[in-house]
């Protein structure tokens, strides 16, 4: 248990990456740093290799769709943790929905492979450098990205549900 805590991580990130770190907050004790999408890959790589911070485990990779934030609709969220220092970190990178492109981190964490495929399947985020970016959970013939807010939960092609009974 070293003295690695959220303030130290934020300080090191700001020292090393400067303008790439756009903002930070700590909701419920978990340091959340917003970074530019171009720098996300470099930051994650540096965090893994840095001996003092040793944030070397990818917990979760996902995306969130904010349709009202024009130009920043898709937030790609990386949850990282350091088992040795017992600390967690959340990185967010915002991309626009017209060009949802970000560099893939499968060369740093091989476990990100399927998680990026799932994010592509649900939101349409294009991960550059991913070895096999195809749909994983949905059928290959599906032509839309279901988790985006504009799509319904139910299957739109069903014709046997009577709307009178379902309150619509």
């Amino acid at each position: 248990m070293s003295g690695v805590n959220s303030e130290l991580i934020l300080q090191r990130l700001q020292e090393r990456f400067g303008e790439a770190v756009l903002g930070s907050e700590t909701p419920y004790g978990l340091l959340t740093v917003e970074v530019t999408p171009e720098s996300a890959h470099g930051i994650i790589q540096w965090l893994r290799e840095d001996g003092e911070l040793s944030i070397n485990f990818l917990t979760l990779l996902g995306a969130v769709h904010y349709p009202e934030n024009k130009g920043r609709e898709l937030a790609i969220v990386y949850h990282l943790q350091s088992m040795v220092n017992n600390i967690r970190l959340r990185l967010k990178a915002y991309v626009s929905i017209e060009t949802p492109v970000i560099k893939s981190i499968t060369d740093i964490y091989i476990g990100a492979n399927w998680q990026e495929r799932e994010t592509f399947d649900f939101f349409g985020v294009q991960f550059e450098g991913h070895p096999n970016l195809v749909r994983i959970l949905n059928e290959d013939s599906m032509d839309y990205f279901p988790m985006r807010k504009e799509y319904h939960l139910e299957d739109a092609t069903r014709e046997d549900k009577d709307d009178r009974f379902f309150g619509r």
Partner: protein, 411 residues
Amino acid sequence: MSESKNEAHFKQKAGLFSSETIDGEIATLNLGPTHPATHGIFQNILTVDGERILASEQTVGYIHRAFEKLAERRPYNQITPITDRLNYCSSPINNMGWHMTVEKLIGAQLPKRVEYMRVIIMELARIADHLVCNSVIGVDAGALTGFTYMFQQREAIYELYEEVCGARLTTNIGRIGGFERDFSPAFHTKLQNFLKTFPKHFNEFDSLLSRNRIFMDRTIGAGPISAQRALDYGFVGPNLRAAGLDYDVRVQEPYSSYQDFDFIVPVGTQGDTYDRFQVRQEEIRQSLRIIEQAYANLPEGKHYAPDVPEFYLPSKEDVYTKMEALIYHFKIVMGETPVPVGEVYHSVEGGNGELGYYLISDGGRSPYRLQFRRPCFIYYQAYPEMITGSVISDAVLTLSSLNVIAGELDA
């Protein structure tokens, strides 16, 4: 640490997700999607040279039920039945994890009694999950007796769940803020009975397989993975502990008073099927220890948190007599409960490892975004690497020892 023979062979022959075919000598075999022994629906297209596996391609998603989209539609207390169906062999753990996530978001303080009750239920669920996994490893190796013995013990655990919540498998147990009722006298009797009789039956099951020459020959060396490779893939839980790393969320970030209990975290050495089997066996014993400690020291108090009336249904006497209770009851049932805006990540140690809930709330009646960190989904990626170079029967054993539950994998 140098690469193991499997990793080098895998990287040379297969690349990451493609396979080469040379005319005539190499065959393609389809393992799945309807897989015997009810493991779930996974398809592996194997490229085999005789019986040696050279490469494999996986297809998942055959039971994708869109939990994350479904959770955006439902109010917070109606999401518990969905979390049941993630790892359905140990559904109480999923339920409790969800309740703890919401309690973290709203900042609720729970009485000690509730936390100890939760620990008892979660450890029973862990025992149930590991019993399924280990007996199914036995079934895949040809030993069907352990399955019949241990499912009898699972019936005893089901009876305990029924005393608390009424359901056997998909329990929807507990509420945000505690439990709906305190443990009944019948529960106490059954739990004491269980603690007395289970160890004997479990030792009988253990004696059938643990030091059985045939079982050891089949499982030692089947599907190994090194600790570094496991970390790269994102392994957690018993599979990571079998590879040598003692990461357990209950110890690392204790929740629900786990720091009060004395238990060890078993760790393996090689990360092969035998190690995974033994780690789960030992975890069953440790879970029993935790239940005994929690039950012996069960503190007095309420079985619910009194400071979250917006989430916890008031008692019926109050609903029929008091105005505020009636309003709270109406709002909870209609799903109009006020939730602060925020984002929270909470994880619990599920049957397969760190089960995480990433919840973003915008103050509305249902979550804005709920993402489940599903351990099965993440570590199943390593399966091709673990089976390359082994024979098909070892591949089947490796799959069952990973305890891949389809509901959690596809969500």
